[in-house]
């Protein structure tokens, strides 16, 4: 039982490869999950691994390092497509949580209500996983297997999120429905990224969280939106959303709301998130 402050990625991976060890970064999910139970294995702290924290870009797009915090995202200079992700970052727990918690941790924790997942799905995020044996990449939707389940192997660290370039006019938005302000787990949430060309939608991505085992994109809705004019979509509002569009969702009933309510709220939030992207777009 020990605590390793990893000085390099390889050091972290070597330690992890020995087994009976857990990765810790922001700790915002790790400590609540532990509760009062004693620690039995090693802890590997990756927050001081050089290069693991921060947002950079290269020719293909953006790279969000595995130790990047929500506050880092809020403060980063990013194109409007990331507005949904930034908005989600501001709604993660509280300032205290945003200062410590990481996007990668949010994904690895794999809560159905993880605030980061819908916006990252709409951005087409790819997950980069490193182990002592190499690096592999997969779409976020593949990485998330179910509640508290991911494709991460025990020896792997989520080292980065890779986000492909989107058109400069792509506009993101995010809406979270909870029973209070701040510090709230969502009843339902929706992220959208929409690109307009000459007043019509040329690209659309929508994802809904807290309404299925893992957050889901809505491909049928996205397809139906292509070619529609912004004015049409705004005028149609929630009537635009059909049950078929929401087919990927399978909400449960819990203390936060019934399944039927969640379905209805998802449709409402989809329409409102779309409206936000359309109203925020300067290139109408």
């Amino acid at each position: 039982m020990g605590y390793l402050v990893a000085a390099s990625l390889s050091e972290a991976l070597d330690a992890l490869n020995k087994g009976n060890a857990a990765v810790i970064a922001g700790g915002t999910d790790w400590f609540p999950a532990m509760g009062t139970r004693p620690l039995t294995g090693d802890l590997i702290d990756i927050t001081r691994v050089p290069g693991l924290r921060g947002i950079t870009r290269d020719d293909n797009g953006w790279r969000i390092g595995g130790a990047t915090t929500w506050t880092d995202v809020i403060r980063a200079d990013l194109p409007p497509a990331f507005d949904g992700l930034k908005s989600a970052a501001r709604e993660v727990g509280s300032v205290q949580i945003q200062n410590a918690g990481t996007l990668a941790g949010n994904l690895c924790n794999a809560s159905p209500a993880a605030d980061g997942v819908p916006p990252l799905l709409t951005l087409g995020a790819v997950v980069e996983l490193a182990s002592a044996y190499g690096t592999r990449r997969m779409p976020l939707s593949t990485f998330l297997k179910g509640p508290r389940q991911t494709a991460r192997m025990p020896g792997e660290v989520l080292t980065a999120l890779l986000i492909p370039d989107l058109p400069a006019t792509a506009q993101g938005a995010f809406l979270k429905l909870g029973a209070r302000q701040y510090l709230v787990i969502s009843i339902a949430m929706v992220a959208a990224v929409v690109t307009l060309e000459q007043g019509c939608i040329s690209q659309a991505a929508l994802a809904v969280g807290s309404c299925s085992a893992t957050a889901q994109r809505l491909p049928a809705l996205e397809a139906d939106l292509i070619g529609r004019s912004a004015a049409d979509v705004l005028a149609a509002g929630a009537t635009l959303i059909t049950p078929a569009h929401l087919a990927p969702l399978s909400p449960i009933a819990d203390v936060r709301g019934s399944a039927a309510y969640r379905m209805e709220a998802a449709a409402t939030l989809c329409a409102r998130a779309l409206a936000l992207t359309l109203k925020d777009t300067s290139h109408g």
């Binding site: 039982m1 020990g2 605590y3 390793l4 402050v5 990893a6 000085a7 050091e11 330690a15 810790i24 922001g26 700790g27 915002t28 790790w30 400590f31 609540p32 532990m34 509760g35 009062t36 139970r37 004693p38 620690l39 090693d42 802890l43 702290d45 927050t47 506050t71 727990g93 509280s94 300032v95 205290q96 949580i97 200062n99 410590a100 429905l177 029973a179 209070r180 302000q181 701040y182 510090l183 709230v184 787990i185 009843i187 929630a238 819990d254 203390v255 936060r256 709301g257 019934s258 309510y261 209805e264 709220a265 409402t268 939030l269």
Partner: protein
Amino acid sequence: MDKHSAQHITAFHLNGHVVEVEGTPGERLSHALRERLGAKDVKIGCNAGDCGACTVLVDGAPVCACLMPVQQAAGRKVETLAGLVKADPHATRLMDSFQAHQAAQCGICTPGMMVSAVALLRDVAAPDAAQVQDALGGVLCRCTGYRKIIDAVVGAGAAQPSEGSGDVGTTIRRLDGLPKVTGTEAFGDDVAPADALVVRVIRSPHAHAGFTLGDLDAYRAAHPGIHSILTAADVPGLNAFGVIPGFIDQPVFAVDHIRFRGEAIAAVVGDAAIMAQLDLDAFPVTWDPRPAAMDCTSALADDAAQLHPGRAQNIMCRGHVACGDPDSALSRADVTVEGRFTTAFVEHAYIEPEAGFATYDGTRVTVHACTQAPVMDQDALMQILAMPRETIRIIPTAVGGGFGSKLDVSIQPFLALAAMKTGRPVRITYERTESMQSTTKRHPAQITMRIGATADGRISGMTFDGDFNTGAYASWGPTVANRVPVHASGPYHVPDYRATSRAVNTHCVPAGAFRGFGVPQSAITQESLFDELAAKLGMDALDFRILNALDNGIPTVCGQTFDIGVGVKQCLEALRPAWDAAKQDCAAFNATNTAHKRGVGLAAGWYGCGNTSMPNPSTIRAGLRADGTVVLHQGAMDIGQGANTVIPQIFARALGVPVHRLSLLGPDTDITPDAGKTSASRQTFVSGNAARLAGEALRRAILSHVNAAPDAVITLDDGQVSVTDGTQHFTLDLTRLDPNPAGYVLEVNESYDPPTKPLDKNGQGAPYAQYGYAAHLVVVDVDLALGRVRPLHFTAAHDVGQAINPLLVEGQVQGGIAQGMGMALMEEYIPHRTENLHDYLIPTIGDVPPIDTLIIEVPDAHGPYGAKGLGEHVLIPTAPAILNAIHNATGARITQVPATPARVRAALKEAGHA
């Protein structure tokens, strides 16, 4: 793995000094700061990032210290409140501003609030309210309703409002306020010596089960560092506690079967380091789960398991009040309404979990713990320990919120038993989940009411039937069953009335006292139906209430009349300007908005101060020392509401000296006489009267020494007591007076017990010497498609008879409204499911809108200088006012609280909204 820090030291800067600490791997920074570095100003409320009490700055950024491994702090700069107030100019200004605005009530969240505010002020010199809300949104407060905190941060850079003289009726800062803003206030978890053993309690994971303990000796042998394991066999006296004679039914340790999830079966006592690493799940016990009855309906069923012998159908007790002939009054009514309303378990959610420590010297056991009722704790321990009163000393710590639940013992028996068994100082602190699972809640209620009115708008008949889920053990269930029928009419003239209540045992956590003792639940029903009745009559909801409001000389449903002091009409009238304006504003908004609708609602309430037809005296002691100091022994527990300021203000007025001249002592059962429990809105009224009598008695004693007239002026100055009587001036020669063993040359002890009369079989009598009155108005916004309700503004009128300290009144009102909002919109404790502060939601700083407090002063015949109690009144009208506003906005009538978005949306659809 050479950088493994299993045995490594972590060094960082703490408040400007380099510190080194040897934490265990992954040890929470909050734990290391408090237990290894003595930074007790860092408070722990949840250990899950849900409450923010432990907020510290790490390299300038606010983080929850409970979510950071101490090793992560290596080389970094950690700042806590105690350090900031010494070195940071923003913190210094906040100290002043928080005190001036009374932004700290109990003070447990204050370090988290102020540290977060320092980070904001470093970034934004003059933040607005919205920026303050964003920055402080991660810190929960259960006392203040947040608005004074917002005011204090927004106003930190401005000149602070000046204080009054301290006389009754003037606002002064809390006399005990400074430690709350410097991080030096000592709460239950802050007082144990470093070598204290730690107690942890083994609890049932099931709602109903038999159990068999395994080989405890072997378990102990396998865990070096465990000093003792306590079970029912270790209880020398009665293995039971409770608060009402005849209902002492909850075991300290269950013997062979448990009746609720979280019930204690054993406690392990050991070295702190060992206990921190102990896996309680491995404790040797075998469970035999049995079917559980989790609500009244299932517990009342014929085939339900009986929880306690002698309580047929699991009905623990009943309450009944009747007058006139309600059935014929209802039959001759021109309109009637009927409704069934359901409420949930509500958790007190004070940010300070139960904590304390105890010592035993071979003769006396001393318990230091957060409590609302030190002498009741002593009473309980006398029975459990089979020891006389003088061998049990209770020294209350500062209390980080109580609201009723800290009236009952929780940790005290475990502490006392463990200290006596081990002979060592012992400490305990409940985990948040443990606190939520095992301590009392507000009773869930199922209430049916029928109310009639004649065409002229007068009430004609009212019947009330309420079932209250009192959980597995009695606690204050009998009080709820008694109080509700007395209050369920609301503050109205109802000549024909019948109310019956039942407290039903179930396999749930015990329901007990929570601000209002069942009255908030009944008010939801009655005040909602009043709106329905007014609508059927075609009357304005405010006019209808004023027409039927109680008044001087009009009997209550208990047949009690008051010659003076009934102030509900004044409260309602005071709302009229806000009512008229809000109706117009909402109509204008609704004319142009389709997705959101706004509505205004109101409700009134009343509450009898003190025990129901039972004695509940308070005694206040004071003395004059030979050095000229006047000492007030203040034993009325201040749990944040302000008794430490109110009681001295009253005493000072009676004595005729400035309040700041007093020296305060207590609470401590060795030195402060019994001022009763902090409950039932009784401290300002009952202990306040005892303080008034004590002040008057000391005044008489001083004046009689110099034969001065009763209106002579007493002056305390420079160790001298002088008296000016007209043109004559005397100085008491204190050296000529013999000090008593306590060191007082003059000492007084005065008691006050409110004059009440017993209730007969129909609940007729004089249950309370005094009622306080209230009326709330709220404007809400309803998102029609999502069912999300946001209160936008409250106006709250409270008849307090005489405000002793008007800013304290505002603080009570705002805090009560926040709790009422929570009950109305989001709070629902469900065993197994909402046992933490992220599944159980209380309002945050972003939820509570601006609140206008209208202080109404209709003097009471008995209260000190006319003052009335306030603590419960502030919560009673809030929830029904919100439900009425939702109805006003949308036409949807909510009959189940909390009105979560899903429930509101369902009601909206039922009301015809798309």
